[in-house]
Structures are given as structure tokens and as C-alpha cells.
Assembly symmetry: C2
Homo-oligomer: 382 residues x 2
Amino acid sequence: MDEHSRSDKSITITYAITCPREDIGTISENIALEQTVEVPAAVIRDARIFKDIVGKVLGIDEAGGPAGERFNVRIAYSAIVSNFEIPQFLNLLYGNISFKPGIKVIDIEFSDEFIQSFTGPRFGIEGTRKLLGVYDRPLVATALKPMGTSVEDLAEMCYRFALGGIDIIKDDHGLVDFPFCRFEERVAKCVQAVESAQQKTGKRTMYFPNITDRFDRIERNAEFAVKSKAGGLLISPFITGLDCVRYIAGNALFDLPIMSHPSLTGIFYSSPECGIAPEIVIGKIFRLAGIDSSVYPNYGGRFSFSKDTCLSIAHSLTEGMAHIRSSFPTPAGGMELENITEIVKFYGNDIILLVGGSLYGRSDDLTANARYFCEKVKEAKQ
Amino acid sequence: MDEHSRSDKSITITYAITCPREDIGTISENIALEQTVEVPAAVIRDARIFKDIVGKVLGIDEAGGPAGERFNVRIAYSAIVSNFEIPQFLNLLYGNISFKPGIKVIDIEFSDEFIQSFTGPRFGIEGTRKLLGVYDRPLVATALKPMGTSVEDLAEMCYRFALGGIDIIKDDHGLVDFPFCRFEERVAKCVQAVESAQQKTGKRTMYFPNITDRFDRIERNAEFAVKSKAGGLLISPFITGLDCVRYIAGNALFDLPIMSHPSLTGIFYSSPECGIAPEIVIGKIFRLAGIDSSVYPNYGGRFSFSKDTCLSIAHSLTEGMAHIRSSFPTPAGGMELENITEIVKFYGNDIILLVGGSLYGRSDDLTANARYFCEKVKEAKQ
């Protein structure tokens, strides 16, 4: 292990820690032990383990708080502790300390060596745009819903949305292989539906089936989607396990863009003093794992992210990150068609606008609703 | 879908909701929609979808709170919404509402039909005891650590712990397939080590390697562990994806008891107003998925669970649950050898006592330390 010295080869994690001033030193040192060796320092007999494995506290900065008890602490971990893999990286990031109060991950810097172990998004923003032939405006997306609808009716919706000019039509994240709405039948018929519409309009629409499923079925679902000429794949990384995304994205057999749904990940942001910042989870980490577009709840919708949080997520999906391609920020969650102009102004063109409910609610004519949505986006483009 | 009427075939979830009194009705109805159809009620055209898919609010009870703004809300979901599978069940349980403030899952009642879809633990408490031939006392377990230790040294520790009488020796949850500590070599040598000790003592010790790994390697790791005659498997369900546990536990090829590590799941309990109660996540749901023993941070250790929480977890792992076997409560996380008597008095005999750090710290003679631990447990047994 000797060749791996710290600093240039480390993963540096910044924690916002809330605790009494007299405890911050001990708490910081304990994190460095807890996330690596899981024993008190006194038990470690081998000096190389201190050097190569135990985290190193780089700095403790005051960060205010109601009684001055908030600190930002930077700890550097040798990247070998992550084994350059997603599962062990998650352990390192927040495994055991998820049980401790007052510790929130607010930033990560990856080492080059760590990033080089990942291929990231296969398509990214540029590649997804190329598949659609759309370069000068935000992409327009919607979701097939509600659960309980038959395959025939979902395929009919697909057709109508595609006729209206939608770029990407994804399954709702709760659409799985239901007896009343089988995965394979749904994929076959929805692909057929968007192709029929395309023959009329000449405009490409991509259908993204939800491949989230039992552990032993995800790969089969992805294979079926590829074979059926689906346009992409929808997956909920914290339902399947995050490394599943890395596996699908990194496997040349599954040559389709991947859209992530953030199901369950809200739990990371529910406490102001604990968890992991959203721009890290559904931004930096999902992108590293290989998602081409990351769905997240937009400000002002039916969830509770702030404008600042949304901008941080969009930034982390698109900022420079060695060879890793940019992922499409995909704001969603109760966005109103009337707010499209403002939203595009806020983010710029490089987003996917995912509108579900209000596209269904506007009128019974889904094609007209989709056209209206697309026109709004064309007007709003920067 | 018509044969699935609500009530006897539903999954009932109880939420503790914090909100102004005037909003509780709307918030409850919104949860019932959000976790199923993901559209406003007005958009649903098909009456059968209301009947079969949308959750039904059964009751809203006052539950106090600083300004009387806490409510317990029971919502019944048709079990078909879960598709009788772990991944979609997780979506139903907390997928989208993880992004909403003030909603905490505090109880679940499964329908018989739902439970019948799962096989649960293959061994459970009784089966694990049978493998060890130990029936009248708590089981005694430790972990191989610290990360950075070579395979040879870990195998030597295994040998010494086994000589001292430890029942179960597991990998630390951060021990993965490191270049400096390969999985296959570790499994082979640690199994050999416990077998050598067994030849001396006549007492069975089981080694549980950590099979948590990349998506495409978990199954291979489990196969290798079985082939190598390991005693069991360690897995971190929220690192691999929870359904991976169900897959391994339900597959006759992997005929070994499974111990779960709670890595990352502390995030569910970090906010008093959000998340999912620990007895549900690492109790009820892990058991349903098929773990035979569930590691969790004991009260009074280096994490922050209360005695009440620990008792609730132990209860949810062992209470009656149709055909599903009981799982071993496995308290851990900085337990002191001197507290063993009190801990056994608290839980009774049907636990696995997992002591890591203080077993290493007591003296350099690991066999003597293990003997001391085992004697403490024999003295303490009920």
C-alpha cells in the first residue's frame, strides 16, 4: 500500500458538524476512524494502517450556528479505502456515521485516480441531444401515469404525447412489472406507439421504460428494452442499489441513456444537521455512477427544494469533472406549464423539463397539451 | 384488478405527521395519491383506479406535539400496489414522500397475501442455533478488523478468536475485495483458520465473509462463500440494494445464514419528524427480506439508539409474523465486555452479542479475550 500517499490521491469530504465546541476535535478524529478502521486508535498496532487507511483531519473551521457550535471539518481519505467502487465508497461516505447525530456531508473532492475508475454517463447532455437531434432548447419530457392504467391506454398516451412533440416519455417510477401492466408488453407497445407517431411527424420521441425491479430482473429488463429499441432506461438508484446504475451504464450491451428517479433519496436531506447534501447524492454521485439525466423535485412544485439547492444540483451535474460527461438536470415534481418561461430563464437550455400532472390536467386532448408544452419551451429557450 | 378489495388485502401504513391542524386532511389525501398514482385526484378518469390503486385514509388521530400539531394517520394501500416485491414496496413505503417535510413512518401492518409472497429468513434464530449446536445462551460474535490488515493476519485473528470459543466471526462491513486483502483468499484462509481451531477445541465457529460488493459480483461472492464452506454471509442491504438480500436468502444455492449490517440506514432515523422508524427498517423489513440476524447499534455504545428503540427492534425481529422465521437481534457498536450481564438481562438469551473493538482492546491475547467474553456470556445467560 505504500505507494499510495495521501493528498493527491485522496478523497476529501467536508462535513458540517453541530456539536459543543469542546467536542469538535474528538468528533472529527472519531469520524476518521469510524469510516475506515472502526476501532479506537489505541487498538491499531500497525503504523502503516494509520498512514494508509485512517482518515486524516485536514482542518476544522468555525461555521457559525445559533450558539457558535457549527463547524466545517475536512477529512482526507486515501482513495484505496473506497476500493475505487461505488458500494465501498458509500460505506466510506456515510455508512456508520449515518447513525451519529449532527454530521452532514456538504462537499466531496474526488482524486483523479478515483474518478478514472469510473466511465460516468455513456451519453450525457451532448449524446442525448444527438440521439434526438435537438440542440438549441431544453428537452421536453413527460411521464406515463397513473398506475392502474392498462398497457393499451399507456401506449395510446405515448402516441398522443409523441404526436404533440414530446422528446422523452418515461414510465412513472412506480410502474413495474404488474400483472395488469406487464413490463415487456408495455415496452413493446409504447415503443411501437412512439414509432407510429414519428412516422406521421418525422420527429423523434424516445420512450424510457422503468427497469427498476427485483435484483435478478433488472438486467433482463434492460436487455429487453435494448432489444425492443426503447429510447432509454429509467431507474431508481436507491431502490435497486446505486451500483446497479454503474453496471448498466458501463456495459456496452445496454447502449441507451439512463434517467434516474430520486425515489427514497429525500431521506438524505430531511434533517438540517444530518445526511448528505442533495447536490452530492442526486448530483455528483449519480453522475459518477453513470446517469445521463437526473430527475429531482424543482423549487416551487409540490416538494420543498429551494432555488439555491436546485441550482447546486444542476451545477454538480454539469460542472467540469475530469473525463466524466455532463448529465442533464431534470427538474420535475408538480411544475406548472405557465412557469416554463421562468424555469428556463433560471436554468438555461441544458435541462430536461419533466412535466407530468399538469400536462394531463390541462385538457383531455393530450396531443394539444403536449403541443402547448413544446411551444412554451420553444418560446422560452435562451 | 377487481378481485382485490381493500381491508383484508391491504398494507396499512401509519405515519406520524407534523403540520398545522388545518392541513392534515389534505396532506393525508396527498400521501395516498403521491405514493401510488402521482397525479392530482382531478386527473384520474377511471373510477377503478381510485378503488384499486389510490391509498385510502383510514383515520387521523391527534398525537400531541408542542402546539398540538402532531397527528397519527393510517393509510391502507391495496397490496397489489407493492407488486408483492421489495423494490416497489420501498417506493410505496417512502419513495416520493421522502422529499416531503414532517412525514414519518411509524408502523406497518402487512396483509397475509403480501407476507405470503416472501420466504423470509432461511434459518432464523432456531436454524442458526442448530448450525452451531448452541441453544441455551446468547450467541457470541466478533468482527475482523481493522481494514488494512493482511489476509494472513485476519486469518490468524480468526484462529485465535475461534480457539477462544467465539460462535460467529464476521468481516468488518468495510472489508471488501481490496487488492491488499482479496475476498477469495480471505474466505479460503479464514474458513481454514476456524476449521483448524475447531479440530483443537471440538467447538463449531462460523465465519461470515462480507459479500457486499459491486452489483455484478455479489452473487459470485455468495457462490464462492458457499463453495468454500463459509458459515454464513454478511451483507449491507442499503449498500447493495435491499432486494439483493431477498434474492440471496430465497435462492437454495446459497444455503447459509445471512447477517445484515445497517450501514447507511441511520439516515432513516436522523430526523424526529421524518424517515422510517428503526424497528421497521432494520427490524420488520430486513426480516421480511430474509436476514437471519440484524446488526444494529446498541444503546449505551458509541451510537445513539435508546433502550426503547433497541427493544422495539428486537421485538420486530422476533414477534409473530405468519410463516416468517424470527431473526436474531444483534446489538453491536461499541459494547463493553463489562456490560454483557446487563445487556443479556435486558434482551434475554435470543440475541447475538457482537463485540469488536473492546475484544481487541482488552489485551494482546485475542484467545484470552475471547474466552473472557464467552465466560461473561455463560455467566449472564438467563
